[in-house]
């Protein structure tokens, strides 16, 4: 019985929940099967962050990623196919508490959110909560209105890439 329950638990993937909490807030929650210090490490070391921040399904390639994880330190991500067609995301960390809390600004536009990530460990697992606070309801509405288009473009890029890969596999 216990063994069965355990195998069910491993078979069940931790789910990612996202909710518009208020006019200005988005809240994302996810549990990870590891202690907070490990999850925190994966968020704060560039070589680790690079491995998961631009998943294949997103169609984005991470060209560069620089992080200076300390209060007042800056970060900068560049996404794109090559450096001529890249999109940069940048800002600074305004609060860093090892293994428990990260707060950063998003300064690529005037209406960027402040992002807070908390890591809460319980029984060897970590509950991660990512909270985005936009400066106004309009700023979040604009982010929402602009996103689908951007994502469609991203998915179109992915389709292209897959077609290219498929073609080259076919040739070889």
């Amino acid at each position: 019985m216990d063994a069965r329950r355990e195998s069910e638990a491993t078979a069940m993937k931790n789910s990612t929940m996202l909710e518009r909490k208020s006019e200005r807030e988005m809240v994302l929650t996810r549990t990870f099967n590891g202690p907070a210090r490990i999850v925190f490490e994966a968020w704060t070391k560039p070589e680790l962050l690079k491995r998961w921040w631009a998943p294949k399904s997103s169609g984005m390639a991470l060209l560069s990623c620089e992080l200076d994880v300390r209060t007042g330190g800056k970060y900068r991500f560049e996404f794109g196919q090559d450096s001529s067609k890249s999109m940069a995301f940048f800002g600074k960390y305004i609060e860093v508490i090892p293994n428990s809390r990260l707060v950063w600004t998003n300064e690529e536009n005037d209406e960027g959110a402040v992002t807070t990530v908390t890591f809460e460990e319980k029984g060897g697992k970590t509950l991660l909560v990512l909270h985005e606070l936009y400066p106004s309801k309009e700023a979040l509405d604009v982010a929402i209105a602009g996103m689908p288009e951007g994502m469609q473009e991203t998915f179109a890029q992915l389709d292209e890439l897959l077609a290219t890969l498929g073609a080259s596999v076919g040739r070889s």
């Binding site: 990612t16 996202l18 994302l28 996810r30 990870f32 994966a42 680790l48 491995r51 998961w52 998943p55």
Partner: protein, 121 residues
């Protein structure tokens, strides 16, 4: 995805389970109306109607806007659909990131175990 939609549907169905609230939606489908107008139409107190509108707004079925002292209500269905679609796409992006992060966490855990064993030896 399932869980998110589930919550959304639950809230929507709860909002729609009441005859007065369905009536309010029907009325707003014809024209925008103030809370006072809706209260009169459905023979209710202002407070009672505010509660119903609150439930509908929570489900994204109605949006309200206050101009001066009058709160006007209108149907919010389209917005709900657009926003839900965006939220689902954004959620999928993060879900994909987090699936990759799972792998990184697993690897770091294994490494830590091996290093721990080495230290004890």
């Amino acid at each position: 995805m399932v869980q998110y939609s589930q919550t959304r549907f639950d809230v929507s169905f709860a909002a729609l389970s009441d005859a007065t609230r369905r009536g309010v939606l029907e009325r707003l489908g014809r024209a925008d109306a103030s809370i006072t107008e809706l209260a009169e139409k459905f023979h209710m107190t202002l407070t009672g109607m505010k509660k119903h509108v609150g439930v509908l707004a929570q489900a994204g079925l109605v949006t309200t806007e206050k101009v001066g002292r009058v709160r006007t209500c209108k149907l919010g269905l389209r917005r709900l659909e657009e926003e839900a679609a965006w939220i689902e796409k954004y959620r999928q992006l993060w879900a994909a990131r987090f699936d990759e992060l799972d792998n990184v966490v697993e690897e770091l855990k294994r490494k830590e175990k091996v290093d721990g064993r080495k230290k004890r030896e």
